[in-house]
């Protein structure tokens, strides 16, 4: 393996994590946009969770109204630039493009979207206006896609908005979680600056709010939006999980995103899990220069939750897949030296362990990609909030919680999906807040 050498500096890092969807140049955008058929009741648009008017913005790009195209995109989605790069477009808009039915490559919608929004961000084109003050105040907890989309939308309607964020940067997992080869930190943060410069919401960074503080907000604010996402990687109760060299995938990726080439990785890495986060962690390890990366999933390849294209990306980075193997124990004297697995097979639709099939894979790093914990504790301490059986916040179609002053969206509500879903929730919740306050 060892397709990637350990990156020693930022430029080597950028090579190893080269962008999968590089920015289009003007000529490419011109020709690609010319292919769009301007479908009626366009299926791409219906497949976009934020319902961007895709045929319209593509036509606008083609007629050299790139600003207008960006306005069309932002009109539906406050994370228009990030989404163009990080959305799993093959599952969404591009997957629905009619060209697929003809075995012709679909329109490169994501990159066209990125092209249009990149231009206004780079040129600092003013597209948005704060609404005239309506004297109302809303608190937003969490500056992720859900929280900031809500903040932007509220500002256009004349609200005063205070955003509270535990970390020191905006955009939540967009900058801390998404794989670096999908979008750079600079790109994410440039869009965040672009929005804030025009809409002037306040973000209180390094300000994790606890339940007490949130409960106090009830009297201070007209409404509160919870966009806190999910928590840290959940502990799985695996013997040896506390050993040195064992990390959670989300934590690993966050360090990778923040520290780039300064982030170190083991030489032999085992990643446990079968979701998209596991793929990102495995790809990331390989690109950081690990000589051997094994992706271990307890069930078969077909049962894996990750998108096929994410698994392919990991394979291309040199990752080896290990299927039908479940970990029994992480071994090592203080620090990790290997993972003991047992084979599994499916019997009558149930996954069972194959007796006597234990084996060990030697490694010096284990990445647990076994899912993020919910923010259950926090929610349970807030007055009147109900959770469903999967510990997700219960909301109505306006994203209003069971306590009427609270609204919520994003991963906290859907249990973990994409940036685009969170951005949509935040926007619709803002409209819900406005409706509720107007009709109270």
């Amino acid at each position: 393996m060892a397709e990637y050498k350990k990156p020693k500096n930022e430029s080597e890092f950028n090579q190893n994590f080269a962008q999968k969807k590089p920015l289009m140049n003007d000529t490419e955008a011109y020709y690609e946009s010319s292919r769009c058929l301007f479908c009626y009741d366009a299926p791409c648009m219906n497949a976009c969770p934020t319902h961007i008017d895709i045929p319209l913005f593509i036509k606008q790009i083609h007629t050299d109204n790139v600003e207008g195209a960006a306005a069309t995109i932002y009109d539906a989605n406050w994370f228009g630039n990030a989404c163009g790069k990080v959305c799993p477009t093959g599952m969404l808009c591009e997957g629905a493009c009619v060209y697929n039915h003809q075995n012709v490559p679909p329109i490169d919608i994501g990159r066209l979207q990125n092209y249009a929004t990149d231009k206004v961000i780079r040129e600092k084109t003013k597209l948005f206006k704060e609404g005239e003050s309506n004297g109302r105040k809303v608190a937003v907890v969490g500056a992720g896609p859900a929280g900031l989309a809500c903040a932007c939308e509220l500002k256009t309607m004349g609200y005063e908005v205070d955003v509270y964020e535990a970390k020191s940067k905006p955009s939540g997992l967009t900058v801390h979680g998404v794989a670096p080869y999908k979008i750079t930190n600079e790109e994410v943060l440039a869009e965040m600056d672009y929005l804030q410069e025009q809409l002037n919401y306040t973000i209180h960074y390094n300000h994790p709010v606890n339940a007490d503080e949130i409960n106090k907000m009830i009297n201070k604010y007209d409404a509160i939006f919870l966009g806190v996402g999910l928590g840290a990687t959940a502990k799985r109760g695996l013997p040896g999980e506390e050993k040195e060299g064992v990390v959670g995938a989300v934590e690993f990726i966050e360090e990778l995103r923040m520290n780039h080439s300064d982030k170190s990785v083991g030489d032999k890495v085992v990643v446990i899990g079968g979701g998209n986060t596991a793929m990102d962690a495995a790809s990331g390890s390989a690109r950081l220069g690990a000589s051997e990366v094994t992706l271990a999933y307890r069930n078969s390849k077909e049962k894996m939750g990750a998108y096929d294209f994410e698994y392919d990306l990991a394979l291309h980075a040199g990752v080896k897949g290990l299927f039908n193997a479940t970990p029994l124990e992480i071994i090592g004297n203080g620090s990790v030296s290997g993972v003991r697995f047992i084979r599994t097979k499916e019997e009558n639709g149930k996954l069972t362990e194959v007796q006597g099939s234990e084996f060990t894979i030697a490694c010096d790093q284990v990445i647990m990609a076994t899912g993020q914990a919910k923010q259950t504790q926090l929610f349970q301490q807030i007055e009147g909030l109900k959770l469903d059986d999967k510990n997700r916040l219960v909301v109505n179609e306006a994203y209003q919680c069971t306590h009427p002053k609270f609204f919520a969206g994003g991963d906290a509500v859907n249990g973990g999906a994409e940036v685009v879903n969170a951005a949509y929730h935040g926007k619709i919740a803002a409209q819900g807040i406005d409706n509720w306050l107007n009709n109270k």
Binding site: S34, C39, D41, A42, H101
Partner: protein, 450 residues
């Protein structure tokens, strides 16, 4: 292999592919290169008293991903001294004795015509083409299209030329006129050996949205140009048809020009009566090499159809181009969608609903996006089959059994045509149209606009 050679009013060429008089025939270098690449003839860039050209000379219409779908120029005739051109004509003829070199000419007085004709004959030109078409600049000086638009003047000048010339004469017509047969007939009456058309069409291809000047911009100003390229082909073919079908004009050979780029264009022009074709824009866009595609395609077409020379099929479409009043009103076609091929863009639906006859329905469940034709509403206009992006997906199916025939002409004779405003004989009487207010029923639920 079919024999592509032609004898066009006495001008012989190894094939019918000629370069039109324009920048590709500016010099001996270019014409030699073109002959070497496979062109059978070249009409030299128009000769006369040399001009002075402006810088910034061309403009274009780009459509979607197609560059130069239409092309426009404000160039004049040659700006090189006559002697240089004559020397090069002579040299070309030395290397390519069997290729056609035709000298395009434009001068003012009778004496000038006589002089320049003698000069090009001496240089070895195989024929002469009279440029009565240039619609910019030259016409302001009483030449080019100024002549093409005045049949009487045109006839007089053709008369002078015929008296002086010993080699075949082609008169090149301007399309900037309402009846092309007027100058066409004048040319024939003046004694011309052949006709060529079209020259360019007066045009403005665009306005700069900052300086408000038309393209091509010359120091903040512009002028009308001459339009050519693929966009003008339909206009050229219509004029060609008018001339070829005319009982007098149709007797002389016609060289077809205007938007020709592929073998298909060539075949269509020949089917409408042209027996040589001339090309300018396509060469300015792609170079001389495009003749390879034209020749290969023409050869294949002729092989497939069993033609030995282009004269075997020249003019074969002419009997089928008739007047509207002779079309069969009993003919009936209806659109048919091939569900297997349909990709669900629903462009046919919106085109018919907004732009035609509300004869296409969307699927009830909305799941599968394949629309269906409401046969009783379909008037057979073809629109849906034209907008459909999938080749062969919507076809127009003949529904009449072919036994009935009734034309407008016949109905007029029989006295069965509508004559009053609310005549019961109106063709669309009782044809389905939705109630006007149904247009607003989806206003709130409209998916594309919400």
């Amino acid at each position: 292999m079919a024999d592509l050679s032609i004898d066009f009013a006495g001008i012989k060429a190894p094939n019918p592919f000629w370069l039109a008089s324009a920048p590709p025939t500016n010099s001996g270098y270019q014409v030699m290169k073109a002959f070497d690449a496979g062109w059978g003839g070249a009409v030299w860039k128009t000769l006369g008293v040399p001009v002075v050209n402006v810088s910034s000379r061309y403009g274009a219409i780009n459509y979607r991903d197609t560059r130069m779908a239409g092309f426009n120029n404000i160039e004049l005739i040659t700006d090189r001294p006559l002697a240089d051109n004559l020397k090069e004509i002579e040299e070309v003829k030395k290397y390519f004795p069997d290729h056609a070199v035709i000298a395009s000419l434009m001068v003012e007085s009778k004496a000038e015509w006589e002089q320049i004709i003698k000069d090009v004959e001496n240089a070895g030109a195989d024929g002469i083409e009279l440029n009565f078409g240039c619609p910019h600049g030259m016409c302001e000086r009483g030449m080019g299209s100024a002549v093409g638009q005045e049949p009487e003047v045109l006839k007089t000048i053709v008369g002078w030329v015929m008296e002086a010339a010993n080699i075949p004469v082609i008169t090149k017509l301007s399309p900037n006129i309402s009846h092309i047969t007027d100058p066409g007939l004048a040319a024939v009456q003046g004694g011309t050996d052949a006709i060529s058309l079209i020259n360019t069409i007066k045009s403005i291809v665009g306005i700069d949205l900052d300086s408000y000047a038309p393209y091509p911009i010359v120091d903040g100003k512009g002028t009308n140009g001459g339009y050519c390229g693929p966009a003008v082909k339909p206009i050229a073919m219509h004029m060609l048809k008018d001339l070829a079908k005319h009982p007098e004009i149709g007797k002389v050979p016609i060289s077809g020009i205007g938007g020709i780029e592929t073998w298909r264009d060539v075949v269509e022009f020949i089917l409408l009566g042209a027996t040589s074709v001339q090309v300018c824009t396509a060469v300015m866009h792609y170079g001389f090499g495009i003749v390879r595609e034209m020749e290969a395609g023409l050869q294949k077409f002729m092989n497939d159809k069993g033609y030995n020379t282009i004269y075997d099929f020249a003019g074969k479409a002419l009997p089928n181009v008739t007047e509207w009043k002779h079309l069969n009103l009993k003919h009936k076609v209806v659109a048919d969608i091939n569900e297997e091929k349909c990709i669900g863009c629903e462009l046919c639906y919106i085109a018919c609903d907004d732009g035609a006859h509300q004869a296409i329905a969307l699927p009830e469940n909305g799941e599968n996006r394949v629309p269906s034709i409401i046969e009783k509403n379909c008037v057979g206009c073809n629109l849906c089959s034209l907008v459909c992006p999938v080749e062969g997906c919507i076809t127009m199916v003949k529904k009449d059994d072919g036994t009935e025939h009734m034309t407008w002409h016949e109905r007029t004779e029989a006295g069965t045509i509508p004559t009053t405003f609310n005549d019961k004989l109106a063709g669309g009487l009782g044809h389905y149209v939705p109630e006007p207010k149904l247009a607003l029923k989806n206003k709130n639920g409209h998916k594309n606009g919400s």
